[in-house]
Structure formats: C-alpha cells, structure tokens
C-alpha cells in the first residue's frame, strides 16, 4: 500500500515510505517531525497548514503527497537562516508581537512571505486579500496587518 516518495523540503531531499494519497501535512508532521504546518480543518478553509510550494502559499492538508514530488516545499522551519537570523517577515511579526496563542502564526507568516514575494509593495487591500485564507480565533489580525506592513517597509532595497 505504501510506496517510496521523494520530497524536497527546506532545501533537503527526503525519501520516505508513505501511502501515496496521504495529504502532505501528515507526512510533514509525522514523518519529518515538522511542527510549523498545523492541522486546523483538513478542508482548505483555515490556512493553519500553509506551506510554500515553489514559493506560493498553499494549504497542505488535502493535497496528496505524490502531487508535490516535483515542487520545492518550504515550511515555517525553513524560513530562518542557519545561524538563527529570522526571515524579515518573521522578525516583523516578532517586533509587532503579532499573535496570542500563535496557532495561526504558521499560516500567517507563510502567506505573508508568499504575498510579499509576489507584491513587494503591497498596500492594505492587497495584504488583506493575500491573508484572506488564514483564520485567527484570537483576533490577532490587526497586529498581523501591522506586521506585514512593517515587513513591506523594512524590505531590503
């Protein structure tokens, strides 16, 4: 039933045995022991499970692992530099203390990274649209908006 699958995650190749239909999220969390992508709904409705697929933010909770073998997968763990320097988006979130429980942070940060790559000068409306798929129950969205705007302002020029 299982078969070997090779994934490129955070710059490293991993070959693992998995059910080919298994959604990427389960493989990342259980087989690669990553904590960034979170289970929130399994329905592509909340964004907790976001990862970067070839630089685009996508939910990982439904997409079968075999559909992403040719993609570069980056998770929250893959954003900071090896020396611990945070990605500018992560740093902006930290500076704004943009979370309460933090469960949604993965989806927020991954979405913001993809958004700012596509639209480095994003304004209010573009940011809101880019973050629309991610839910937060703690009401941290106002801080998240400030953090993303800060990241726009701080981007290396």
């Amino acid at each position: 039933m299982t078969k070997p699958v090779t994934l490129n995650v955070n710059g490293k190749k991993h070959t693992l045995e998995t059910d080919p239909d298994a959604p990427l999220l389960y493989v990342l969390r259980n087989q690669l022991a990553l904590n960034g992508p979170k289970y929130g709904c399994g329905l592509q409705q909340c964004g907790a499970c976001m990862v970067l697929l070839d630089g685009k933010a996508e939910p990982s909770c439904m997409i079968p692992v075999t559909a992403v073998t040719n993609k570069l997968i980056v998770t929250l763990e893959g954003l900071a530099k090896a020396d611990g320097t945070l990605h500018p988006v992560q740093q902006a979130f930290l500076d704004e203390q943009a979370a309460q429980c933090g469960y949604c942070l993965n989806g927020m940060v991954i979405s913001a990274v993809a958004l700012l790559k596509a639209a480095p000068n994003a304004g209010e409306q573009t940011i809101r649209q880019g973050m629309q798929r991610v839910l937060c129950r703690c009401g941290s969205q106002a801080r998240v908006l400030r953090a993303v705007k800060r990241a726009v302002k701080n981007k290396p020029r």
């Binding site: 059910d19 298994a22 389960y26 904590n35 709904c41 929250l76 908006l145």
Partner: protein, 724 residues
C-alpha cells in the same frame, strides 16, 4: 521525564530579558502587602509549592493555571523576577500538572489568572525573605546590609556573595507565605507594569515544539473517533473484520456503547478508518421534535427555573413604561483554530494524560470516576493548545484518549478531533434572550429599570463529574446527564452599573437543546449587548447624546474617565457620509475592570451591507503587569467580538448541529477585520483585574449602536449579518 516534555519545559520556561540589571532595591523600600492573601495561598501556603531554586541558578515557578495565549507564563515570570531581582530568563514556569503544581482548579479568563499571578508574587516575596535570612546567617551580615541580584546575595559593602542554590544546599525552601509579608514597592518596579516581549514568540514563529499537537513519543499510535449523528444515538452492529480489510494499519477498533474509536499505527490510516466508519455505520437515531419557531421563542417556551437577582425599593410601574425591547444572542462556538487533541498512556495500571484542558487536577478527578482508576494512579499534564476562550472539546478529547488507551495499553495513544467534531460537539456559549423595560423621568433620567434574562448554564466543566463529558453520556454503561445547574454567569452584568434607583432583575434558567459551557465573558456578552443597545434607544427617547446620557447616569470617577477618554478619541473625527459611530460602556461584573468601546460603521448604500471600519477601546483594569499584553487582549477581544456579533450562529436542526466547518459557521476574515486601537489607563495602586473578557459585550453594544445609527435599523437579534 521524557524529552518531549523537557522541550516543552524549555519552551515555556526561558523568557526574555529586556532590562539591564543594576537594580538595587533594599528591604527598607518594602511595604506591607494587601491585608489579605489570595485564597489559594491560604490553602497552599508552602513557598516550595510555588517556587523552587535550581542548580542552574534559575528558579522554577509553578502555577496551577494554564497558558491559553493570554500571556500567563510571561506575567508569572515577570512578577517572580521582580520580587527576586532576577532576570526573566532565569525564571522557568511550569503550568498545571498533577502532583507538580498547586491545585488551582480550572483556568478562567476573568480574574482567576490574576489571582494566580498575585499568588506567585507573594510566594516570590516570601522566598526572598527566607533567602535573605539564610544569607544573613551564612555571611554573618544583617539582612538589611545585603543585596540580592540575579540569583545571588552579597553584602552591600562588598565581600563574599552566595547563590540561592548554595544557600539552600540542594534543599527546598521551607517557609510559608503568610502575613505580614513585605513585597516590593510598586514605585520600584523595573519589570512589572512594563511591556516585555514574549520569549515564547520566537519559538512560535520558528515552528518549535510548543503545542499538544507537537508532542511525539516513541511508538505513539494514532486514534480517531466516530461520532453519532446526534447527541443521542447508538451504533448498530460493528464489523471490525470488514474495517481491518480496508485499513491495513488498524490496531484496534474500540466500541463502547455509542463511543466508537479506531487506533492505527499511522495517522492517515486512522483518518481513513474514521471515514470508512462514518460512511458505513448505521445508527439508531433519536430525533427530538423539530421547531419552526425562531430561536428566542423556542428558548422562552422551555421550562425554566426563575431566580430573582435584584428587587427594587419600588415595584416596576407597568403603566408608566417608556420603552420595552427584546434582544437575543444565538449559540456561539469557541471555535478554536486547533481542534482538540490529547495523548494518553495506560501502563501497569497507571494512566498518564496530556491535555490542553483548563486544569490538570479537575481532569484527573473526572478521569478517575469515569474509568474507575484511583486518582493516585492518574497523572495529568496540561500542555498548550490553540486559544480556546473557555471550555471547549479539550477535556472530552482527554477522556476519550484515556478510554482508548485503557483499551489499548502500553502505547501512547494520540487522539485528534476533526474540524467537524470540534464544531458539532464542543459545548457552546449558550443562546440567551433579554427583555428590558425602563421608565424615563421628565428630566431624562431613568427611574426604573427591569431586566429579564433567559439563559442556559455557563459552566458545565466536568470537575470530577463524568456525566458532563460528551462521550460518557453514550457509553455502554452511561453516565446520565442531569439538567444543567441554575445560576452562574447567566445574569452577569444583567443589572446596570448605571445609577438607576429601582432595578428589577430576574433570571430564567432553562436546559436548552444544545450542549453548553463557559465561553469568554459568559452572560456578559449578551447582557451588555442588550443593555447598551437599550441605553442608546433610551438616549434617543430622552433626546440626549449617547455619551451625555451614560455620563449623567454614572457617579464612579473611573467609569467616567473611560468614557471621557473615549469621547476625546471619537468626537472630533471628521464626519463622513454613510458612516456612524456607536459607543458602549460597562464595568465587568459591575465590580472589576471598566471599558468603553466605540465602533465606526459604514453602510454601502448599494448593497445595504454595514462594515465595521474601526474600533476604539479605553480600559481601566487597575494594576497592569504587561501593558502590551493587555492591549493585545483588548485588540483581540474587539476583533473576536466583532466576529461573534456580525457573523456567528450555531445552526441546528432536529437535534443535529449543521454548523460543521468554517463554511457553515463562518467567522471573521481579513476582509472584514476592523482597525483597532486600545488605550489602557494604568493604575498601579489599584487592584489587579482580569482584562481578557471585558470588551466582548461592550464591543457588541458599540457595533449594534453604530449599525442602528448608520442604517436606521436596530438589530436586536444577533448576529447582525444573520437571516432572522
């Protein structure tokens, strides 16, 4: 202790340091503490129950509460580091765990957290005294001539220094926290009252192990549960062989009455097994009668127990009533972004459970009675989950993981609820109805006020009673649920804080169609929504401005100041077309924190849609430990309240909840999130009050009032975007 656990300890233990540390306060600068210690310190006075000195030079602080994103760990570390003149990163915080932390019951949002923070402050102050006395002996210097700094004590005049650890020589602190007790003077605070960055933030933002969902144990197996279609249904005959054929990794199917669980080696196999059983299980469904009436009518028709809350000097003059209005609020979900999860291990007749529930000790007592295992053989550890805002599915999941673990001993069994399970099975914040009436005197003052509230219970935390666990109700030998308790938070804030001479308040308690328990702010949300809507309606009758109308009914200077400051923020805003401001005020529980909120709402004349553009809040919660964390709570509270007020309503039909995902139960998304601004009035000399729950009702009131102003339509039945 396993490594997973150790990681967690590390992750919540090390906290940031933002201040340089040449602080030289002396005992002479200390003042007597409050005349009374928090009740928990009277029950658990031993200093070592709260605080222990580690060989590493750090101290470990124990709180019986849990971290829910409200910043408890940071606040606890802040006050302990303050009293002991340490760096915050030298303070490690352990949250609720049986036989490890004090038993502080459940963690609520209102003020119980603050009590725990105070307890730690006093325990740290008592520890300071004991350590100073020990150092005085060891160094042969009077305590007054000593200086404490970063876990060491030295003579002011220089000379030898000893560390806390050397002083205790591996032993524990032996003293008790009792009065008289000296604590640091608030003027000398260098941490408390200042915004500190949460060190857990770096761990969250880099995806380190933090949450219960991130716990991994060697050999851990994965479980899923299969729910009946409604609250009362029993499965037909189950065929484990057929399931095993479908699911090669199936380890066990557990059937206990209507409780159905599967255990697999691999998580996705468990999901597949769950789906297979959902599609292939026949249930005997008991369907309660359907009602075609609107929810408020349905609720008012239920049998109710009445409680008189407030009786006036003069009876309500029915013939002179100026205004009557009925309001309602539907069932609302906690709607945590992370569905409930738990891990349990049953081994050699001992049960270990990891839960994100709100208290380890009450969970242990419930498990003991559910499973017939002595409490002494059960160990419960609370681990962080996603923000819950009250009693959600966490404790149910913990009990179910335990049921599964007992049926499959020797392995860590991890149970993860699905989104549909969390949506349909958690205990909601109850639906409520409010009928208000008032008499206005000719001068525009309210002389009589009457409030009738219909509510179900606001707390059904099991706390030792398995019948309050959902699956315990349909086990083969079920624990039968009794009608819900009367009282609790149903009439919280149903009486007005305003100066109204004759107030009649009556509560009507029913046991409603859906499972309920505590949700952030309990009955206050609905009661303040109704009262503050009503105040605006009365102000209009009195032809008085909403600010002036409220102020003329207030005497408390702190109450007035919150309104004055709010008025300053919004009264000079430029007038815009199709835009209006609504305001609301309350004092939480009429005895705790004050808050005033304004909402700016615009109306799209083409679509008729009202959008909340901005919200402002001014709050006075007495002493504040961390202002930025308090602002965070207020901002988040306004946005969550906007979500409840605009969008949220649990839908059900024939006893079955039909709100089963984020499409059928939408909550606010970025497109509708208002800008928010919160200001805190800091009063270091005043009592510490909870801030987490205080803006929920006022936010609803302000939004409702703004919508009424801009559209001319008064919405009295929430949610505002609802179809009723």
């Amino acid at each position: 202790m396993n490594t997973g656990r150790r990681n967690f300890l590390k992750s919540i233990g090390s906290l940031t340091i933002l201040f340089s540390l040449d602080h030289t306060h002396t005992l002479a600068s200390l003042l007597p503490a409050d005349p009374e210690l928090p009740g928990i310190l009277q029950r658990v006075p031993a200093i070592n129950a709260w605080l222990e000195v580690l060989a590493s030079g750090s101290v470990r602080v124990f709180t019986g509460k849990i971290e829910m994103g409200q910043g408890l760990c940071t606040a606890v570390a802040q006050v302990a580091a303050e009293e002991l003149d340490m760096e915050m990163r030298q303070v490690e915080v352990i949250i609720s765990e049986t036989n490890v932390t004090p038993n502080e019951g459940y963690t609520g949002g209102g003020s119980s957290t603050e009590t725990s923070v105070l307890a730690v402050r006093y325990a740290a102050a008592a520890a300071r005294k004991e350590l100073m006395d020990l150092a005085a002996q060891a160094l042969a210097v009077p305590a007054e001539a000593l200086l404490m700094n970063n876990g060491r004590i030295a003579a002011k005049q220089g000379g030898r220094a000893v560390s806390f650890y050397e002083l205790l020589n591996g032993k524990k602190l032996t003293g008790e926290v009792k009065l008289p007790l000296t604590v640091k003077r608030k003027e000398d605070y260098r941490l408390s009252g200042k915004s500190v960055k949460r060190e857990d933030f770096r761990q969250m933002i880099t995806g380190q192990s933090m949450y219960i969902q991130d716990l991994r144990f060697p050999g851990m197996v994965h479980a899923r549960t299969v729910r009946p279609p409604g609250y009362q249904s029993m499965p037909g005959k189950m065929d484990e062989a057929a399931l095993a054929k479908q699911i090669p990794g199936l380890l066990k199917m557990v059937v206990n009455g209507g409780f159905l669980g599967v255990i697999c080696t691999d998580e996705y196999q468990a999901v597949k097994a769950q789906r297979y059983l959902e599609a292939n299980t026949r249930w005997d469904v008991i369907t309660p009668p359907r009602s075609t009436k609107a929810l408020p009518e349905q609720l008012k028709e239920l049998q109710a127990q009445t409680r008189t809350v407030k009786t006036p000097a003069l009876p309500f003059p029915e013939d002179r009533v100026t205004l009557k209005a009925s309001y309602s609020k539907p069932y609302i979900m906690h709607g945590s972004i992370g569905p409930s999860c738990a891990i349990a291990l049953y081994h050699n007749n001992e049960l270990e459970v990891w839960t994100h529930g709100q208290g380890a000790y009450p969970a242990r007592d419930t498990l003991s009675r559910l499973l017939g295992i002595p409490a002494a053989s059960i160990h419960v550890k609370c681990v962080r989950g996603a923000g819950c805002f009250g009693h959600n599915g966490a404790e149910d999941a913990a009990a179910e993981a335990a049921l599964l673990a007992v049926a499959y001993p020797g392995k860590h069994v991890r149970l993860q609820w699905s989104r549909a399970e969390e949506h349909a099975w958690e205990p909601y914040g109850t639906a409520m109805c409010m009928e208000l009436a008032a008499v206005l005197e000719p001068g525009g003052r309210i002389s009589h006020f009457r409030s009738d509230v219909w509510s179900d219970a606001h707390s059904t935390h099991p706390g030792g009673n398995p019948e309050l666990l959902i699956s315990a109700n349909y086990l083969a030998r079920p624990f039968i649920r009794k009608p819900n308790p009367v009282g609790g938070g149903g009439y919280r804030n149903a009486d007005a804080y305003y100066n109204i001479p004759n107030q009649t308040v009556t509560a009507h308690f029913f046991t409603g169609p859906l499972r309920v328990s505590n949700l952030r702010s309990l009955g206050t949300y609905a009661n303040i929504f109704a009262l503050e809507s009503f105040m605006d309606e009365l102000a209009a009758k009195a032809e008085t401005d909403p600010f002036a109308f409220r102020l003329m009914h207030l005497e408390d200077a702190r109450a007035k100041e919150t309104l004055f400051r709010l008025q300053e923020k919004v009264s000079r805003l430029p007038k815009e077309k199709n835009t209006a401001i609504g305001i609301a005020f309350s004092r939480y529980k009429n005895n705790a924190a004050y808050s005033a909120v304004a909402a700016q709402v615009t109306l799209d004349p083409a679509t008729g849609k009202a959008t909340v553009k901005k919200m402002w809040c001014v709050a006075d919660a007495g002493e504040i430990i961390s202002p930025d964390n308090a602002v965070n709570q207020l901002e988040g509270g306004m946005i969550q309240a906007a979500s409840w007020t605009l969008f949220e309503e649990v839908k059900f039909e024939g006893g079955m909840v039909t709100s089963r995902d984020w499409a059928s139960y939408p909550i606010i998304r970025f497109s509708d999130v208002p800008e928010v601004e919160a200001e805190i009035i800091q009063r270091p000399g005043e009592k510490l009050c909870g801030i987490g729950e205080i803006v929920m009702g006022v936010s609803a009131g302000a939004i409702g009032n703004a919508v009424a102003r801009v559209s001319g339509k008064r919405v009295r039945d929430l949610p505002i975007y609802g179809t009723r």
